[in-house]
């Protein structure tokens, strides 16, 4: 190896060392985070991380678990009906999973009547389902509003306004001008808290958050790619580290030979 080649090897080593150091600084935070969260996940069961739940609002917001503002609430003798996602609630009690938006709720004939977009549920005071006026019937499609006319339920669909009999079995066109249309009421703070709780379920476990921190998902989709970049950086550091570890030995041996040749 002549002087030129020797110079090239030395400059190559300097270059790798330079990149190795800079890359190390660049991925320092991410690798530290990966190491700490990795250790925590390794001992998740011992630390009961899956049984402990985060209650911080800013974390919920970060996950997009912000309770929608437009949830309709209806008061029935102090009991509140609302729908969170696909689940219909009477206070904290889950009535059932159902499709379509909640349109209205009222009390009639000793029953709670819950009107949904394509369905009407009759519920007793214990929250048990008495009957479900099916969404497969011809007339209960695309319900837009519900009202009361002399103790009878009135439904406004896209095409017509119909009125039920006392037992909610038969429907006929309503010609009444004295319909009192039902509208939602503003829920008190404790009901809003119930809605929040039901929307968020048990909340987010520490294990889930740590897992998402470990994968970078907690910072958004772009962070996952950044994490990938850091992982590639770590791989390159391993290779450059190994190269630098191997190279000096060769260089030392080569250096001795070169010294002898030069002398």
């Amino acid at each position: 190896m002549n002087k030129m080649e020797l110079k090239q090897v030395r400059s190559g080593k300097r270059l790798v060392k330079h990149w190795h150091r800079n890359l190390g600084m660049f991925i320092l935070i991410v690798v530290s985070l990966l190491a700490i969260t990795g250790i925590a996940l390794n001992h998740s069961d011992d630390l009961h991380l899956n049984k402990k739940f985060v209650k911080w609002n800013w974390v919920f917001n970060l996950y997009g678990l912000k309770t929608p503002k437009n949830i309709l609430t209806f008061s029935l003798d102090g009991n509140w009906v609302y729908k969170v996602g696909s689940t219909l609630y009477l206070n904290d009690f889950e009535i059932q999973h159902t499709g379509g938006q909640l349109v209205a709720a009222t009390k009639l004939s000793n029953l709670y009547i819950i009107v949904l977009q394509n369905d009407i549920l009759l519920i007793n005071y214990d929250g048990e389902l008495i009957d479900q006026l099916s969404d497969t019937t011809d007339y209960l499609q695309d319900i837009q509003a519900a009202g009361i006319n002399q103790s009878k339920l009135v439904i406004k669909t896209a095409n017509q306004i119909i009125e039920s009999d006392d037992e909610f079995l038969e429907w006929e066109l309503s010609k009444s001008q004295n319909i009192i249309w039902l509208s939602s009421q503003n829920a008190p703070a404790y009901v809003l808290a119930q809605i929040d709780r039901n929307f968020r379920g048990s909340g987010l476990s520490y294990e889930r958050i740590i897992l998402d921190l470990h994968g970078g998902r907690v910072f958004g989709k772009a962070a996952v790619y950044f994490w990938d970049l850091c992982a590639i950086g770590l791989l390159m550091m391993c290779l450059s580290g190994a190269w630098m570890w191997i190279k000096p030995k060769k260089n030392t041996r080569q250096k001795t030979i070169n010294q002898q040749l030069l002398n």
């Binding site: 009759l122 007793n124 048990e128 389902l129 008495i130 009957d131 479900q132 099916s134 497969t136 019937t137 011809d138 037992e167 079995l169 038969e170």
Partner: protein, 171 residues
């Protein structure tokens, strides 16, 4: 190469697209109208009180989902619209009973992803003229359909419930 990617994207979209499983073959109202030739009687209601609940629970192995059942009776026939969960979602049946035997059983709404073969006539005709024995079982063996076992069971249970309720309301 572009064609390959287009095909790949198409197949991927096809695989991940959500399946709309609910199939309404006939509305309950349409079914009742058909049975009574467009002139149905007023519907009646049966409240599932303590009188009926133990037997229904014995047949279904659980309580019926609703506390009130609507049915129609006229021309010596009774029509029952009943629901039972097959695997995950309810199957809606229309059952016509005359002289305490089934004369028609029709799947009106099928909401499960698989097993909708039970709606075909080749299967439902097995219920024609079926009666309820004293032990609350049908008087015949119903051949199953592989891959639709739970749906088949749900249909059999509802057939038994309908025959039982008909016997109770026809006294």
């Amino acid at each position: 190469m572009i064609r390959f990617y287009t095909l790949f994207v198409f197949i991927f979209c096809f695989i991940v697209s959500p399946v709309e499983a609910k199939s309404v073959y006939q509305t309950p109202k349409g079914f009742v109208n058909e049975v009574f030739s467009g002139n149905p009687p007023k519907p009646k209601t049966l409240w599932l009180t303590k009188r009926y609940m133990p037997t229904i629970k014995k047949i279904l192995s659980h309580s019926y989902r609703k506390k009130r059942i609507r049915y129609w009776r006229g021309n010596n026939k009774s029509v029952w619209i009943l629901e039972e969960i097959g695997k995950e979602k309810p199957i809606t049946l229309g059952i016509v009973i005359e002289k305490q035997q089934i004369i028609q059983l029709t799947v009106l709404v099928y909401r499960e992803k698989r097993g909708d073969e039970v709606r075909h006539r080749f299967f439902t005709k097995q219920f024609d003229n079926a009666k309820l024995k004293k032990d609350l079982h049908l008087d015949r063996y119903i051949d199953g359909i592989s891959g639709a076992t739970l749906s088949v069971q749900a249909l059999q249970k509802l057939a038994r419930v309908a025959l039982y309720l008909d016997s109770q309301t026809n006294e």
